[in-house]
């Protein structure tokens, strides 16, 4: 058996095709292969993750003492602005688009995305936009200091008087990444609607694909609103129109509506694919079908719909009328229901399973526990009376970092480890992976948990100096921050060394059930030699029913018997 799994990929590699798996140079070309683009997205965004993490660690270094002594206050403002913008626009969004790009066509049995060239264009806009945003460190006045949400009137101040200033570069950079996201969303939605393999009905489609669809639909209806707001902000800033400038008769609160109409659902753009990753990883490593698959799949689209009407909960303190506060408080509570359904389904999936505590499984379970915690503080923040008290304090910072780091980043790690053998054909090192998990989980708790008591004590966010009574928890948080910085080292070491000389993994090291495991690792250019014909739903663990009617890659023979229908004659 072991022999076959080593031999099998060689059969496929024997065929000459452009950009064979060993050819690393293709990652620096305008490739239209969704798998190359997926890895390009993941690796590029990881670089931005390191940059954003560096900003965060400088900030934590500043906050280790109550005085503003490490960096200047204006530099601190620029740092938190850039940290938020880089982490969202150039790490979380693109890395999840990258995972989606790699996995969706494989999971639905397609040869590529619907528009391969558009796909490549969308990717190459990300480094361009990222470099543009970084270049704002070089212009007079430095980068934008108005936070990642760029509220006017702060964002309309232009102390240097130059046309090219940090804020303008910020808007342009966000606009380019927005265009890239829209093109990506059109591509994903078309691919998922029209290119599923024959026999793959909606309720035979993996939960990850549902989740990506839900996320990309949000991009389509939400991002244009932010684009509209950004155009108006740019015009206000450059040619002196009066949309948001109060002194010229504009309405600054309207910008907040434009911004949050997209940027709250944007949280779901990031968290839905992570939900999808949880739904894929848990059944494989617990050897059980996903509990309540149909409900989990459909709840992604329920979240897509409800999340379009929750945005004002960011603005309870923006002179919002009472009826609006009530309405959006109720919708915010409502959106917790489909998320709760998912958590219930995951717990029930793991319950009584034959659990293997591999690195992806650890990250998935850790991510779910953090998501549960973040969800509970989210309910706190969604209720008007509590929100008015903790608005603009570290409680909010702690909450959304639990979402973004605790749940989303850990989910991304789970996905990367889980599909690493598929992407590279090699196995990562389990020991380093577990070390990475331990550092990440402890670091997350150390840095983000103390932010909750700090917020309840009244420490405002976005300040470089603070009252000495907050010092204790800030020191703890800073230690956690440096630990998180440290935690990336075993990850990088693991990924790079395993990619170069890790043990050959075979095509299906997890003995997982799913179309992507029916092809070679790494898959050849068009994924499958023959289009798979799907005959049953995903997650058939313990059911002993075939997944496909044909053998999509006749050269590969090491799949479990139950994967393909046995010939009857």
């Amino acid at each position: 058996m072991a022999n076959i799994s080593i031999e099998a990929p060689e059969v496929v590699r024997g065929q000459p095709y452009p950009g064979a798996p060993d050819n690393w140079k293709r990652f620096f070309t305008f490739s239209t292969d969704h798998k190359v683009i997926g890895i390009q997205y993941i690796v590029t965004s990881f670089f931005f993750f390191l940059i954003g993490g560096l900003f965060a660690m400088i900030m934590r270094g500043e906050l280790i003492t109550p005085e503003a002594d490490l960096v200047d206050r204006t530099v601190y403002n620029a740092l938190f602005t850039m940290h938020g913008s880089v982490m969202l626009f150039f790490w979380t969004f693109p890395v999840l688009v990258g995972l989606g790009n790699y996995l969706v066509p494989l999971m639905i049995g397609a040869r590529d995305m619907a528009f391969p060239r558009l796909n490549a264009v969308s990717f190459w806009m990300i480094p361009v936009a990222g470099i543009l945003m970084m270049s704002s460190f070089l212009v007079p006045g430095g980068p934008s200091q108005s936070g990642w949400w760029a509220y006017p009137p702060v964002s309309l101040q232009n102390p240097t008087g130059n046309l090219i200033n940090g804020q303008v570069l910020w808007i342009l950079s966000v606009a380019i990444s927005g265009v890239s996201s829209i093109m990506g969303a059109v591509n994903f939605v078309t691919t998922i609607f029209r290119m599923r393999a024959p026999g793959m009905t909606w309720f035979r489609t993996p939960a990850f694909v549902w989740a990506v669809l839900g996320a990309q639909l949000i991009q389509l209806y939400g991002l244009p609103a932010l684009t509209g707001g950004a155009i108006m902000l740019l015009l206000d800033l450059t040619i002196g129109t009066s949309f948001f400038a109060p002194e010229r008769g504009g309405n600054p609160v309207l910008y907040q509506h434009f911004f949050w109409f997209y940027s709250h659902p944007a949280v779901y753009v990031m968290v839905l694919p992570v939900f999808g990753i949880f739904s894929e990883v848990l059944p494989v490593h617990a050897r059980k079908p996903l509990f309540g698959y149909r409900v989990i799949a459909a709840s992604s689209l329920v979240i897509t719909v409800i999340s379009s009407a929750v945005w004002v909960h960011h603005m309870f303190a923006s002179a919002t009328p009472g009826w609006m506060r009530m309405f959006f408080m109720v919708t915010t509570m409502l959106v917790a229901i489909p998320s709760g359904i998912k958590v219930f389904g995951w717990v029930a999936t793991v319950w009584g399973g034959k659990i293997r505590f591999t690195t992806p499984m650890l990250f998935a379970l850790g991510g779910i526990s953090n998501w549960l915690f973040a969800g509970i503080t989210g309910i706190f923040l969604g209720s008007v009376p509590i929100d008015l008290h903790v608005h603009n304090t570290y409680f909010v910072v702690g909450h959304f970092h639990y979402v973004l780091y605790g749940a989303i980043v850990m989910g991304i790690y789970a996905g990367i480890y889980h599909w690493f053998p598929k992407m590279t054909g090699r196995m990562y090192y389990e020991g380093l992976g577990k070390l990475h998990f331990a550092l990440t989980y402890i670091g997350t708790a150390l840095i983000f948990l103390p932010m909750h008591p700090l917020g309840l004590m009244g420490m405002p966010r976005r300040v470089a100096s603070y009252d000495p009574e907050f010092a204790y928890w800030n020191v703890v948080a800073s230690i956690g921050g440096f630990l998180l910085g440290l935690s990336t080292l075993p990850f990088i070491l693991n990924m790079v060394s395993a990619w170069i000389r890790g043990e050959k993994a075979g095509n299906n090291p997890w003995r997982a059930y799913g179309l992507e495991w029916l092809t070679s690792s790494p898959p050849s250019v068009e994924n499958y030699e023959a289009t798979p014909v799907v005959v049953s739903g995903p997650y058939g663990y313990g059911k002993n029913e075939p997944l496909v009617a044909n053998t999509p890659n006749p050269g590969l023979t090491e799949f479990p018997e139950s994967f393909t229908q046995k010939p009857t004659s």
Binding site: A114, L223, G228, T241, N251, S569
Partner: protein, 202 residues
Amino acid sequence: MTAERAISQAIEADIREHQEHDEAGNSKFGFIVFLLSESVIFLSFFVGYAIFKTTTPTWYPPGVAGLETREPLINTIVLVSSSFVIYVAERYLHDKKLWGFRIFLLATMLMGAYFLFGQAVEWRGLPFNYQSGAFGSTFFLLTGFHGLHVLTGIVLQTLMLGRSFIPGNYDNGFFGVEATSLFWHFVDVIWIVLYILIYVWQ
């Protein structure tokens, strides 16, 4: 090689052919998705306009009582009827009558150009500019952003007209023309909403 595998390969060859032939279908689906998304930008501008109009204490700048509606109405009629003209052009192409297609497409372009010309004349004659409070800013934003779309539509039509002179270009389907036409209808519908919002609701 079992009979089953032979059957499944036959099915799959069928499907593959279907998928490859349906690239135009994918493109059309994707383009409609894109237009729906694009319409949200206009929708957010419209909502912004309505909020500005209902909440701003002094809506019109000093010395402005309202907007002239007669010339814009003529403009509207020209633009809306051009949607029918481009439809006729598309029908001609469908029937492989290239010259009919070219003439009606050219007519559409002229009508679009007339619209832009009328818009420019109106802009020049206005007693306020884009810095005249929320009214001036939103007026120029809405008409300007729509005007850019009209211009884009004319550029697309020019490309489609040019490509009709490449022999056999439209023999195997004409997704580009369909997309251009769809885009033009979209620009028209947006204008109707915009006209009602800005000129009728004063």
